[in-house]
């Protein structure tokens, strides 16, 4: 048993939590954001709490569908539905990102809703990250980070000093290091934590102030030292994909006879894998980490690097198979899946591609596919 794990799981199940409420009560501003390319360190250095927007708790997309169509990604439809239902009323601002066109469009929609319906908050900022990693892109990204810092300073009357940024980098690196420590334990033959639980941990950590996250992760690391999951007869799998927050979906996969011991999910392991350098110009270090090290299919001409990274994960964690997770109408993961399928044939690792609507149900077909896939993997091994 781990008390801290139970606390964290509960945090993952809801969008507003006592840590965020307490931070707001103490006068800290809460800034929502949507994508792994938005640098939390800069928001934190401006004295605010970065908070990743999730669909958790959303029951429908009725209001969201008034701005989006049914062929838009269900994550953005759920999140915008929540926004229109004032479920993000506790936010002091939202930072949007050109991660994909569906997410980028939310900036337009939210702005329109702000102008026509008074949907808060007032601070809505479009943060733009390049899609390539050339030197020109790096300079462009540096400019964007500086602009972002200036905007935050001016709007929130904050002083974003070099020292503050260095401190923020240090504490976010600490969080990454703790998450990496947990991931290291997942390499054991009997890992201490299920993949579904780890997703809850990773999701919850983006919904609370980093200081609380570090405390909880330190405690969790201690409590997991003696926890072991019996891996006998279970396959070890790796999950890759974009936004994933449905813990019960991973539970369903694991209940078919596997443990998800590693992941490269946007809302999972991808966030922790590489730290920001703690020397030199801090804003350049942030730019370097976010532009070059976030393994996301939105980046053009980077597939070989992403594939190599995934291959290394599969080797390090001794996984038997890969499951990719794609939300319907996600163009980025549609392309990535196709390329990964070629890699799976070339390298000979079994791969299953699942496609779903966020919180969309349809477990029956999905379970059949997953169970048959695991049976197939075992057949190939025998």
């Amino acid at each position: 048993m781990s008390d801290t794990l139970d606390i964290i799981k509960k945090l993952a199940e809801k969008d507003v939590n006592e840590y965020i409420t307490q931070a707001a009560d103490e006068g800290r501003k809460i800034l929502g954001y949507m994508c792994s390319f938005v640098p939390e360190e800069i928001i934190h250095a401006a004295g605010m709490v970065p908070y990743r927007l999730r669909a958790v708790g959303s029951k429908e997309t009725r209001l969201g569908d008034t701005y989006y169509s049914a062929i838009n990604c269900s994550l953005v439809r759920h999140i915008f539905d929540k926004a229109l239902n004032s479920e993000f009323a506790f936010l002091n601002g939202v930072v949007f990102m050109n991660g994909c066109d569906h997410a980028r469009r939310m900036y337009d929609n939210w702005r329109n809703a702000f102008q026509t319906q008074g949907l808060g908050p007032e601070f809505l900022h479009m943060f733009v990250a390049p899609h390539t990693t050339s030197e020109t892109s790096f300079q462009r990204f540096l400019d964007e980070l500086r602009d972002f810092s200036d905007v935050l300073e001016k709007h929130f009357n904050a002083a974003l000093t070099t020292e503050a940024l260095q401190n923020s980098i240090a504490i976010y690196n600490q969080r990454r290091e703790l998450l990496r420590g947990l991931n290291e334990m997942r390499k054991l033959p009997e890992p201490p934590i299920f993949g579904a639980e780890m997703l809850a941990v990773q999701s919850a950590m983006t919904s609370i102030p980093v200081e609380n996250a570090v405390d909880l992760l330190e405690q969790l690391t201690i409590e997991l030292q003696n926890r072991r999951i019996d891996g006998e007869g279970k396959l070890r799998i790796v999950l890759a994909g974009g936004a994933m927050e449905e813990i019960e979906h991973i539970q369903m996969i694991e209940s078919c006879g596997a443990i998800a011991v590693a992941d490269n999910l946007c809302t999972g392991g991808r966030r922790a894998d590489v730290s920001v350098e703690e020397y030199g110009d801090p804003i350049a270090a942030v730019a370097k980490r976010y532009l070059y090290e976030v393994s996301c299919p939105r980046m053009i001409d980077e597939f070989d690097k992403r594939s190599a990274s995934l291959e290394k994960i599969m080797k390090d964690y001794r996984t038997d198979a890969l499951i990719t997770e794609k939300l319907m109408f996600c163009d980025l993961w549609g392309g990535e899946n196709f390329l990964l399928k070629q890699e799976s044939k070339r390298l000979g690792f079994p791969m299953l591609s699942l496609e779903r609507e966020m919180y969309g149900g349809g477990e029956g077909q999905m379970r059949t596919r997953v169970q048959a896939f695991f049976e197939m993997v075992r057949n190939r091994q025998s």
Binding site: Q365, T368, R369, A372, E375, N379, S382
Partner: protein, 261 residues
């Protein structure tokens, strides 16, 4: 040794009882309100026919969408593995199985032991399934089992252009209103369903010999069109192709509980 397999799908439930590696009896029926009720009903019928009691069964495995809810089953196995094993047991030269069930269709590649090596399953829509045929047969006002023989008499099959079952239904109704011959519409329906499944088949290596299973395998129109589209010949199976899933479950029960024949 007496073993059983129970397959509860979306439209029908099947039970197969094997005694000493021979099919003792099998039963097929339409599903009831719950998977559990369907399983109990179909197994009761099979046991009664065989003159057996539940306690006579040494092992029973389940498959199909309702596989987790079957109270008398010791283990559940996916219908993909069960169709592979069932078809292999019926004819051990089979390496590729096309299974068209009530609400899904699969193409399954098996090895020389009947074990699944690759598979593909529909996940975008149900236009290549039994349910789609059921809806279109109703629009044409013929019984489901009539679609196959009727289509064989066609001279000018219609072309259903829509990919969605609902729009296909509207298209069929338009052809009915225009007084096109029922046999030509029936052929168009079968061709459309065969085309959907054939396009799915391209994702899996098609190794001979081939078998077609599931309820739709009884529709001669779909089967003959599939053979043309895939340029293959389906090997006729010695057992009812609709019980292959339940048969596969029974074979797994036999293999894993002592008898490895």
């Amino acid at each position: 040794m007496i073993v059983a397999g129970c397959d509860v799908g979306s439209l029908t439930a099947e039970a197969v009882i094997l005694k000493d590696s021979q099919v003792l009896t099998s039963k097929i029926m339409g599903v009831r309100a719950t998977a559990e009720k369907s399983a109990v009903c179909v197994m009761d019928l099979a046991l009664a026919q065989a003159g057996l009691k539940y306690s006579d069964i040494d092992a029973c495995y389940s498959t199909g969408y309702g596989r987790q809810a079957i109270p008398f089953s010791q283990k559940n196995i996916s219908e993909i593995s069960c169709h592979g094993m069932g078809a292999y047991w019926a004819d051990n030269s089979i390496r590729t199985i096309v299974d068209i069930g009530g609400q899904d269709c699969k193409v399954i590649s098996i090895d020389e032991n009947g074990l699944v090596q690759e598979f593909i399953m529909n996940d975008k829509c149900a236009a290549g399934t039994g349910r789609c045929l059921e809806v279109l047969a109703k629009a044409l006002d013929v019984e489901l089992h009539e679609l196959g023989p009727l289509s064989q008499k066609a001279r000018k099959p219609i072309n259903l252009t829509n990919k969605c079952s609902i729009f296909m239904e509207l298209e069929v109704m338009q052809h009915v209103y225009k007084k096109r011959k029922a046999r030509d519409i029936a052929a168009g329906i079968n061709n459309a369903v065969a085309k959907r499944v054939a396009s799915l088949s391209k994702s899996v290596p098609l190794k001979p010999n081939f078998a077609i299973t599931g309820g739709v395998s009884k529709n001669v129109g779909v089967v003959s069109r599939m053979e043309k589209l895939l340029d293959v010949k389906f090997t006729p199976l010695t057992v009812d192709p609709q019980i292959i899933g339940a048969l596969g479950a029974a074979i797994f029960a036999q293999k894993e509980n002592g008898n490895h024949d």
